[in-house]
């Protein structure tokens, strides 16, 4: 594997480089992440895994194009180095390996990150405003996401989940006035950002990028499952929503309202409830056998409980 990496990275960087032994950080079911140092650069190589990708996500080449566009737009992302069509038999892309924490529980609870947590609401708003300003023409392959797609995904699972149905019904009935669609990150939350003691270092995991209402992207970081054990802090377990929304409105000139955030927070919970079921299906169908994926099917009940709670609040 080292030889293949050395050849691929030398070609990419345009010079012969000596590399460290590549270390597999995460053997994600759809994508591998390799840490490798080459010619003095700290690199992260995302390489396709054996199995087919989840069909509602971007291809590796598309995800790379999104990271490039974000980088050009000044978003804090790892510096993109290039796409490799064949790295030891599979496609891959190469980016900078950022230093910091990505594990949600650590970001939410670690003592040394208290200062960072204070800054994150404003910093998250600033990066999101830049993401939403990426010209959509730059990424013509991005799909438009609609509520109907969530329904399709739920139908593919073919299990009765009336709590999710009730959430979808409420979302159909109470749709706020539509805002023009913008480039959405699609999975913008604690757990997908790199944080160091100074604050936000970079935004990762772009495979769910799509075109959508900007508030949908904002509200995904409010979903309770991403508060990592600190549910009273509505913004990802790290802080209050108000400074986040204020800064976002200031930068974009929009006037995002609390009831819109409530709406899209519920939508985020419905999407994640369906997400847990589709992840479990990857195991059950035999595509990616994994006890971690399997158990997600049972944890959908936690998300469904939150959906009921939000519906109760909305009807109160």
């Amino acid at each position: 594997m080292k030889d293949a990496f050395e050849a691929g990275l030398s070609e990419l960087l345009g010079r012969t480089v000596e590399i460290s032994v590549p270390v597999l950080l995460a053997g994600g079911a759809s994508k591998e992440a390799w840490a490798v140092d080459a010619g003095g650069e700290r690199l992260l190589v995302r390489r396709a895994a054996v199995t087919v990708m989840h069909h509602h996500t971007l291809t590796l080449a598309q995800e790379y194009a999104v990271i490039e566009a974000a980088f050009e737009a000044g978003v804090k992302v790892p510096r993109p180095y290039g796409y490799i069509a064949d790295l030891a038999g599979r496609e891959a892309f190469v980016m900078e390996r950022l230093e910091g924490d990505t594990i949600g529980r650590r970001i939410v609870q670690k003592e040394e990150l208290a200062t960072a947590r204070g800054r994150l609401p404003v910093q998250l708003a600033e990066e999101l405003a830049k993401i939403h300003a990426i010209p959509a023409e730059r990424l013509p392959f991005l799909p438009e996401a609609r509520l109907e797609r969530m329904v399709e995904e739920l139908d593919e699972v073919d299990e009765p989940h009336p709590a999710i149905e009730l959430g979808l019904w409420w979302l159909r009935e109470n749709r706020p006035p539509e805002r023009p669609a913008v480039v959405n990150h699609g999975d913008y939350r604690i757990g997908n950002v790199v944080v160091d003691p100074e604050g936000l270092v970079g935004v990762l995991d772009w495979e769910f990028a799509h075109l959508d209402d900007p508030v949908r992207d904002m509200a995904f970081s409010l979903v309770r499952a991403w508060r990592f054990g600190v549910p009273e802090k509505r913004l990802g377990g790290i802080g209050d929503v108000e400074p986040f929304v204020e800064r976002y409105n200031e930068l974009t000139g929009l006037d995002v309202q609390p009831d819109e955030l409530d709406y899209w927070e519920l939508a985020g919970n419905v999407a994640w409830a369906i997400g847990t079921l589709t992840q479990a299906q990857r195991h059950l169908s035999g595509r990616d056998r994994s006890v971690e994926l399997a158990i997600l099917g049972r944890l959908s009940a936690e998300v469904e409980h939150e959906i009921c709670h939000l519906l109760e609040r909305a009807n109160a």
Binding site: P160, E165, V291, A294, I295, G297, R298, H305, C308
Partner: protein
């Protein structure tokens, strides 16, 4: 309640994990032996669960179908909450206790 993965499917996933990922890393012969015994025991549970009758989910299916068709029963939220709580008492009792 028709929960997926079923108890049997979960048992199967654990067996695969133990046999495929943990067992090969065990070098202590005593631990290896005890792991094999534990996997045997889990195999018994797996086969015993296969004997259980499949639970009837027709009521949940009917409720889900009605909500999808915009024919939402007035007590839909209450019924849904009761069923979700019953599932949580099995899948994640701590989540339910700590929820506020």
């Amino acid at each position: 309640m028709s929960e997926r993965p079923t108890a049997q499917e979960l048992t199967e996933a654990i067996l695969e994990f133990l046999g495929g990922e943990i067992l090969p890393t065990l070098t202590d012969p005593r631990l290896r032996f005890r792991m094999l015994v534990a996997m045997n025991a889990l195999g018994i549970v797996y086969r015993e669960l296969a004997e259980l009758p499949v639970e009837d989910d027709s009521e949940l299916r009917e409720l889900a179908r009605r909500i999808r068709a915009d024919d939402v029963p007035p007590d839909a939220l209450r019924r849904v909450q009761a069923s979700v709580e019953a599932r949580l008492r099995i899948a994640s009792p701590q989540f339910l206790e700590r929820y506020h």
